[in-house]
Amino acid sequence: NSKPEKKELLVAVAANMQYAMKEIGEEFTKKTKIPVEYIVSSSGKLTAQITAGAPYDIFISANKKFPEALEKENKILGKQKTFAFGKLILWTKEDFKPSLEILSSDKVKKIALANPKTAPYGEAAKQVLQNLNLLGELKSKLVFGESVAQTNQFIDTKSATLGFTAFSTIHIPNKTEKGNWFLIPEKYYNPIEQTVVVLKGKKEKEAEQFYDFLSSDIAKEILKQNGYN
């Protein structure tokens, strides 16, 4: 039952990057005629899968830690490259303008953030609260999503009054109700590096093309439109 060799380039992508990646992929295919398929999941799961031999060609991670783990396992070709930075916002679907000051008010019942342990945006959110010395005070208000995506659901369903999430969230195409957001000054958190690595495998050449394409002007423009630097 040997499977036919896949034509597509398999791109494993961390959940928060998926929209930008899809647009970039379309441009890439237009240019190179190489079709692209995406495997969207959390960076942690993707790392475990790649370690176990998943047939992915490219890995786009939400931070540098995961590719480093893969490097130890001798799974990657060349070096990881940071091609964008994520931006953190406070987002709400309620009818007020979010701000860092409002976090302490009674109006805010629950604050959603991604799990700092597993999600880079969660880690960044935690740094913000630490830097503002709010972590202790707000502890009882915090609820954690397994990822940025789940954090978004908390906010989107108004289960949490507001939450920390990726700026890319509100750039999601055909998302109509964008709610209110506040872009958090970058001084409060360490840069959220979006990195890419080429994985060893049968399509290393095509993968390298994609790797390079991420630094192209077209890609940069798309990333900007999706809320990355």
Binding site: N115, Q150, K158
Partner: protein, 224 residues
């Protein structure tokens, strides 16, 4: 340093869920086993449906239903002081909904195996339906009850999709062991994940082993 809180919370959740579900499932399964209603197959089907959706997705729909800002939730909160998101009650509710079929189906098929004549005999001895249920029917279908209880209990321990969604992973409150292990795996902290897995495994193993040994003793007595 082992953090026991998630473990304690897990077993508390499993216990509460199993007990509540047991009490809810019995009347429903009973009705299903005796009813000749035309809509019975529909209800039987509906009971299985929570299984069909991924747990996180169920959790998402539960979030929509119980979002604190909607009027139903406000009413619940004001009338019963109940809030189902980001609370232990929410975990219980989510687990109950998701484990529902695991309790109801085995019990229902248990009810079906009871010979009519022993139920009739109890009625003729002037036993109410309730007393007959408790003293004749339930003891008779012990194997099925055990199946329902074990499946529900074990499943609640392992479930994390619904629980994660509706609970919000709050330490000491809704952060159960399964979520914790999941987090550690996600964070590539495999050693820690292994450690907690083993602990969870070991405790559950001992509990279930005890249940099965007791059950074996009792069954042997009856069949002689």
């Amino acid at each position: 340093m082992i953090d026991w809180n998630p473990l304690i919370l897990t077993f508390k959740l499993a216990l509460v869920t199993t007990i509540i579900l047991f009490l809810i499932a019995i009347p429903i399964a009973y009705w299903l086993s005796v009813s000749k209603s035309k809509i019975k197959p529909i209800i039987e089907t509906i009971i299985s449906m929570p299984l069909v959706l991924p747990p996180t997705v169920i959790g998402f729909y539960l979030l929509l239903v119980f979002s604190p800002t909607n009027s139903f939730s406000i009413w619940l909160k004001e009338t019963f002081d109940l809030q189902f998101v980001f609370s232990f009650e929410g975990l219980v509710l989510g687990s109950i909904i998701y484990s529902f079929p695991f309790m109801v189906h085995p019990i229902q098929s248990g009810f079906k195996t009871i010979p009519n004549s022993i139920i009739e005999a109890a009625y003729l001895l002037k036993k109410s339906k309730l007393e007959t249920l408790l003293k004749v029917q339930l003891p008779f279908m012990k194997a099925s009850l055990l199946t329902g209880i074990v499946l529900t209990f074990a499943h609640t321990i392992g479930e994390f999709g619904v629980v994660l969604m509706i609970g919000g992973n709050i330490p000491n409150q809704t952060k159960v062991a399964s979520i914790m292990i999941y987090d550690e795996v996600e964070a590539l902290q495999y050693d820690v994940a292994n450690l907690y897995s083993i602990i969870l495994f070991a405790i559950t193993f001992v509990i279930l082993l005890f249940v099965y040994i007791m059950n074996g003793k009792y069954s042997n007595k009856i069949v002689g």
